[in-house]
Amino acid sequence: MKPVNFGIDLGTTNSLIAKYEASKVTVFKNPVGQKETLASVVAYRPDRVLVGDKAREYLVKDPVNVFGSFKRKMGTDEKYYVVNIDDNVTPVQLSSLVLKELKNFIHTGETPEACVITIPASFDTMQSNATLKAGQEAGFKDIFLLQEPIAASLAFFNETAGEENKDGYWLVYDFGGGTFDAALVQSTDQELKVVDHEGNNFLGGVDFDFAIIDMIVVPEIIRQTGITDFEQEFRVKYGKYEKLFYEVMYYAEEAKKELSATGSAYIEFSTELDGKKYDFSIPVTKEKAGEIFLPIINETIKLLNNVLRNNGLTPKDIRQVILVGGSTFLPQVKEQLAEQTGISLNSSVDPTTAIAVGAAWYAANKQYEPSIEETAAEHTEQAIETANDILSNVDFSPPDLKVEVSYNKSSRDKEEVLLIFCEGTYEDKYYRLVRSDGGFDSGFVQLKAKKTEFLPLIPSVTNHFTLAIFDKNYDELKSLAKEIHISQGKYAIDGQPLPHDISIEVDDVENKTTRLEAIFERNSLLPQKRTLYREISKTIKKGSKDSIIISILEGDKNSRPLSNLTIGCIEIAGKDLKTDLVKGSDIEIQLHITDSRVLNTTVFLVMTQQEFKNVFSISEKKINLERLKEQYTSLEHELTNTVKEFQYNQREIWEIKANALLEELHTVKERLFRLKKNDKSDEKYIIAEKIMRLSQEADKLGGNERISLMIEDYYYRKDQVKETINTADFEKEELKRQFIKIEQSEASFIRSKNVSFIQTKLEQLYDLHWKALGNTTSFLITKFVEFRDLGPEYYRDYNGAKSLIKLGNAALEKENYPEFRRHVYSLSGLLHRADFQMNSDFKGTGIG
């Protein structure tokens, strides 16, 4: 047998857990935020389950998914329907989640099998059994129930142990945040028992806060502003003063606490009311507070007197009133109690923790039979060498679930993206990410094959996160836990680090666009030197107007070139060449960036043996007009698609913003396309600046949420494409190769958190999907049938189409699919279709 030692106060609004050890009781703190109390609230938010203080914030605004005060419903058959999970939850289930969360407070690494849980004196058998059941669901094998007034008395008796004999009647006065209880406790030699009790489940500290608001703050606001309907409007949910209401709620509670500490307080705030600015400084005096608190306090004293009267007792028969609950901090409460009852008061125990502390004292004297697992786990503490063997016996984590993570170990951003990959049976399991300092807690989130989570970082320190995995009952699978460390903003200060990536713009001919290739990465220390070896991607005839453009840009290497600042641009035109420059010939680009960030470039054309040297100081901008026009068009195209995407996803606000950007972009269109190559005005710089800014803003549209959606979309499409490629009948190997190429860049583009980069990959996948379909016979047949039935108005050359249809039919008959495919392709080429003409005369930079 072993002592139970753990005591839990499972409260209506707040819960606590404490442990007895070595003749001392410790109240555990929430690792998230270091508070001793945990709000007894559970929130089923759209994609995660939250337990505790954060859940409480959503209580008023999302009542169909967030539940509190379920203690009042224990032992009833009432169920809560949760809209977000389309299922019912019971008060027992909700309580067990709170109990499980409290177990996380235990920082000693123990997983107790037994505990004491307190219940109100008023609980009947059904309610008590419901509490037992909640305890069992939370993983406790042995549970002992204890009435709250007894727990409070025990806390007090043990605090003053060794003193005189405690026999007689005691009153426990428990005045919390939302409930009041008065209990008559009798102590005899051998035992403590609750003789009688009275309570009010809707009377608590918040009533004082409202008294301050309604009787002091609101009248003063009306007096100063003359707004006559202020009182009616102020407390209205979603009303026009709602924001001020929350502020005043906070100020009122602070003022109340200030009153307990110093005897007087001021409520001071500035606000705008109906378009006018006001500064308020409202005194809350001791006298006024005494006056407005009195009716509330009297209500509690009335209940207390009822208990006495019902039991034929007078104040003289009571040894002391034991004060518990946060509201007993108020001096007015103590004064009135003393004055009106004449009984001596005892406030020697901490009123917020007393019940949990008493429960732990009680637990110290209760015994239970530990299970084999617990005994085994204990052995591991003693015999560390064999710990792993035994632990693997007690840990029931499924061997068929594998969890991997991917993230950047250092960052200069305010947040980093974490990728979680699962293999095996991840359905109906959850993960939870907690930052060790307590400022971030993801709550319980359903696992998926791939998940992304944005981790906020505290600047200039190493941020530690724990990833824990839970089964469907929210029990942790301990062997799957992972530690994640990300250091923010740290680098060796040997030299000056580069604030941005420096990249070169190269052609991406396959996708008819350009992309960036990093030369120097952000945070590399200056000076830096590097030589790039590339091929010329198009032939340039000596003396022609064609040219190659070497653009050096500063910014995020993962963003589209347009979002970067061009810091150097070298144009080598046909007229500069000694001989023709043939596609595929080599080009060497040497770059050197000095301490003071002057960029030196040397370009060597191997074929013509020519060298071009340039020096750029990073304050000068270089802009090539033709490239700028091309960039304009591609941004316009992208934004147009973005608007469509948002429309499709019904993201109205994003759509409005994207449209605004598009409109702003259009304002420069005419100016830009009118500009002559040799224009000497500032115009092109102004336009370039604007396009760059719009491009950066386009990247930010929708923020993290959009990025998450895109990543989800990416994985979804990827699976689709994979499947299509598997069933393709032609060019399977080539399709696979392209697929792998995209897949290989996955980790880097997801981590980049850059919309346009992810978008590019999405589009590549999309194209690949069409390509794969176009190589699948069954799909080709469907398309062919569709084309066959189209009327002449759909074709540019209907006669040509008719003969292709004939050929197609014949090939299909003969089951000559390669030939059939050719005909379908030609046929589709005859269709009027405007939507794939984009970028057909792509010029690019000439560097591949």
Binding site: Q34, K243, E247, Y250, G439, F440
Partner: protein, 103 residues
């Protein structure tokens, strides 16, 4: 001993009110200096105004004004977040008290 969180809260409130009175410029240097003194002692102080509010943010207690939505912003900070650096670890010393709105 003086509770640093209490001092920081007063400082923060003073700053907000000076701000509201449009007199920030007169005191900017003093505030910078005062905050840096706390930073030297290992306190990290954050005003969350303007940041996104999410349900994973346990660094604040929020009053949610208006309808809840998936993109909420912290529009007012009544009390700042305070972290404390100690022996290489960071601990949340005080949660911020904020107002969040769906914007």
């Amino acid at each position: 001993m003086l509770n640093p969180a209490h001092i920081i809260n007063q400082l923060f409130e003073m700053q907000s009110r000076i701000n509201e009175a449009g007199m920030t410029a007169n005191f900017e240097r003093n505030f910078k200096r005062l905050y840096s003194l706390f930073e030297e002692e290992g306190y990290i102080i954050q005003d969350l105004t303007g940041e996104a509010y999410t349900e994973s943010r346990t660094d604040c207690e929020a009053g949610i004004s208006g309808k809840i939505g998936s993109r909420m912003t912290i529009t007012r900070t009544l009390k700042p977040v305070i972290y404390q650096k100690k022996d290489g670890a960071v601990q949340l010393l005080q949660k911020a008290v904020v107002i969040a709105e769906n914007k």
